[in-house]
């Protein structure tokens, strides 16, 4: 099963890379709706809340279809609001599907992120049930179809003394209590949704809940426009004495209906249960991930208690505690249960005292020193530091520019001293090719590396480094054009500087200097 899952994840990655690259060309990475899938769901839920409260004013439990029909007939305060309510709920399902695909494809569900994965599945279930109750509320032919199918599933469970399906046979009018309960569920479930959403983001530092304002309002505008220009119409009222050939269905909520029809309810439960169980077990299949990606560790002798790693950690996994070694100040401590091994703390620590084993700032300097002394290096060449999950996928196109690639696990993981050392080691220029900010697997890598290079955020790129020889660009997987452009621009800029052929004055003992200084600073 894991093999099948990994194959699906690979396919999802390829699909996403192509879709992301296209959307980035159309809208730019800031407004790429595919990157904002999670926040779009929240925005749509807010739209649903607003329009839902309005619709609630006109809904009558004793006259479900009639009250909705009156509302639908009113083009000013009814129809378009109902249309927006419906389309926002559909957009929420689409965005949820994209969000889940992204999480699977990018392997963002294992270890500490399992809580977000499982709560996300609960959210999906809640959204689908909410949609179900919403359509049943209308009590048209589609709502009746959903109700009958839902009752068929519930009636096989040995919990009800009388089958629910009996309510829809035509023996007697549908009891008002049914519509009241349905309405109650439709109103109460959003509260549960809010609670689970809070759990969903509870392990994130600084969770982003809403899309950029421009994108959010554009989406609402588009949905409103289609609701006005193509008004909703009412399907016929539910009638137990006729069997319509077809019903106007919302496939985002009734996608299962064509498959479930004709399947015995017990088998449908079994199939649905296995599917849900499989989805819940996804994080378990990736338990081995921890072995490859150990949690960050703090070298307490080096830690100066500056709080920077605590501020930068995207998962709130680092706490600052009182020292026990007699030194004043505090010391960072990593909670391994929350750490996803993103390594962003390694880039944030000026004295290089924190990070996952093998990826601390000191390890990075060791690696880049070995890279620079390789006989293959040519003085004055452009080094492109590429995120393995992003621009590296366009490796051939990047190499064709003459740049040499230096892959890193995440740009946010990169210690800025690596850039300085590369320049000292003879590189003409260094371009950091990070993933677009909303596409970072570690959430905030591109943001922090940009701050460190350009805005003196700790651990900042030192002022002595010639900024004309450093560049940064965003390029996701499959976005060769943006990456190639960034490399060429830097190459041209560096060429214009007329640097001496070999700038390798080049004190590759820089690391030792750095270490000595740091050790000296520690009290």
């Amino acid at each position: 099963m894991p093999a099948v899952f990994h194959a699906l994840a690979r396919a999802g990655r390829r699909l996403l890379a192509a879709a992301d690259a296209t959307a980035n060309r159309f809208y730019g990475w800031r407004f790429n709706p595919l990157y904002q899938s999670g926040t779009i769901v929240v925005a749509m839920l807010l739209v649903l809340l607003g329009t839902g409260l309005w619709l609630l004013l006109f809904y009558r439990v004793g006259e479900p279809w009639g009250s909705v029909a009156r509302l639908t007939a009113n083009p000013w305060i009814g129809n378009w609001v109902r249309g927006l309510h419906r389309y926002a709920s559909d957009a929420a399902v689409v965005a949820t599907a994209i969000h889940a695909t992204r999480m699977v494809a990018q392997h963002r569900f294992w270890g500490p992120r399992a809580l977000a994965w499982i709560s996300g599945l609960v959210l999906v279930g809640l959204v689908l049930v909410l949609g179900w109750t919403g359509y049943v509320m209308v009590w048209d032919t589609f709502g009746e179809r959903l109700a009958i199918e839902g009752a068929r599933f519930l009636d096989v469970l040995p919990v009800l003394s009388e089958p629910i399906g009996r309510a829809f046979t035509g023996e007697r009018p549908i009891p008002g209590a049914f519509f009241f309960l349905n309405l109650f569920a439709h109103v109460a479930l959003p509260l549960a949704l809010g609670l689970v959403l809070w759990v969903h983001v509870s392990r994130l530092a600084r969770p982003t809940l809403l899309p950029p304002r421009r994108l959010g309002w554009t989406l609402v505008g588009l949905l409103t426009a289609v609701a006005i220009l193509w008004p909703l119409s009412m399907a016929p009222e539910a009638d137990p004495f006729t069997r319509p050939a077809s019903v106007p269905a919302d496939y985002f909520y009734a996608f299962w209906l064509p498959f479930s029809r004709g399947v015995p309810a017990g088998y449908a439960w079994l199939g649905g249960g296995l599917l849900a169980l499989g989805a819940l077990l996804v994080p378990r299949w990736s338990r081995g991930e921890r072995a490859h990606r150990p949690a960050s560790e703090v070298d307490e002798a080096i830690c100066t208690g500056c709080w920077q790693c605590h501020h930068d950690c995207p998962y709130d996994a680092i706490r600052m505690l009182e020292r026990t070694d007699g030194r004043a100040d505090v010391v960072a401590r990593v909670n391994a249960d929350l750490c996803v091994s993103c390594g962003i703390c390694a880039g944030s620590c000026a004295p290089m005292g924190v990070g996952p084993a093998g990826r601390t700032g000191r390890d990075q300097l060791e690696e880049v020193r070995a890279f620079l002394v390789s006989p293959a290096r040519v003085p004055g060449e452009i080094i492109a530091i590429t995120c393995t999950h992003g621009a590296l996928s366009s490796g051939d196109a990047l190499r064709a520019t003459g740049a040499v690639l230096y892959p890193v696990d995440c740009a946010g993981n990169l210690h800025t001293s690596v850039i300085e050392l590369a320049l000292r080691g003879g590189a003409g220029g260094v371009v950091v090719l990070a993933c677009p900010p909303r596409d970072c697997r570690n959430r905030e890598g591109p943001k922090w590396i940009g701050e460190r290079i350009y805005h003196a955020r700790d651990a900042e790129l030192q002022a002595r480094v010639d900024r004309r020889r450093v560049a940064m660009a965003y390029a996701g997987p499959g976005e060769a054009v943006a990456a190639v452009r960034a490399i060429r621009e830097l190459r041209d800029a560096v060429a214009a500087l007329h640097l001496p052929d070999a700038d390798a004055d080049a004190d590759l003992d820089f690391v030792a200097v750095c270490e000595t200084t740091t050790a000296g600073e520690a009290p």
């Binding site: 159309f26 009996r166 046979t169 035509g170 004495f241």
Partner: protein, 211 residues
């Protein structure tokens, strides 16, 4: 301000995606592909209890806590029923129906849908209690009620017990119910055979307005 090709393409893609969303939000779904009318049998009734009742002696009653004393004690089970449906004399359904619950003592719930050809037919539905050899019916227990009460408390309770047994008997479905009627369903029409509580018999209902 120049409008770039990607921007135009992006706008078109956004509009297209929104329209696609609206289309899929109201696309027709085949609900009931079969045009044939349906005969729906749906009712819920309380089954008769097949009981053996006897009158307890004073000594037996004395062994029972005061609040649990009942002069007539009945033991038994709920009846099962056979449901038979014929259309134009051809058997379409012949099945045993039991009460709900683990002990089958909950109401009997019938829900069956049979496809019938459109046009005129003769429908016959029979719902009949299954005979249980050696058992007495609830009707028999009333005879045992004649047992005379021996004290004031029991004297007051005996009529209530008898009344309760009578009520249960009246609530239960009749031992046999027959419905024989001509039907003339149109395409996609649903005819409902159900139980009329007031008339205590099976009735046919349609969605057509009453003549």
């Amino acid at each position: 301000m120049s409008i770039s090709l990607p921007r135009i393409a992006g706008t078109l893609a956004a509009v297209g995606a929104t329209v696609l969303l609206a289309v899929l939000s109201r696309a027709p779904l085949a609900a009931y592909p079969d045009e044939a009318p349906v005969l729906r049998l749906a009712w819920s009734v309380r089954p008769e209890r097949i009981e053996h009742c006897r009158t307890l002696t004073d000594a037996e009653l004395a062994d029972v806590p005061a609040h649990m004393r009942q002069r007539v004690q009945c033991e038994g089970r709920a009846a099962n029923y056979r449901l038979r449906v014929t259309v134009d004399g051809v058997s379409r359904l012949d099945t045993l129906v039991t009460g709900g619950g683990a002990r089958n003592d909950r109401p009997v719930y019938v829900f069956r849908e049979l496809s019938v050809p459109a046009g005129g037919h003769q429908l016959a539905v029979r719902f009949e209690r299954e005979p249980i050899p050696g058992s007495e019916t609830a009707e028999a227990e009333a005879n045992d009620d004649e047992a005379a009460p021996h004290d004031t408390l029991m004297a007051a309770r005996a009529p209530r017990e008898a009344e309760e047994r009578t009520r249960r008997q009246e609530e239960a479905v009749p031992p046999v119910m027959d419905l024989t009627t001509p039907i003339n369903p149109g395409a996609r029409e649903v005819l409902l055979v159900t139980y009329d509580v007031d008339r205590r018999t099976l009735v046919l209902r349609t969605g057509r307005p009453a003549p």
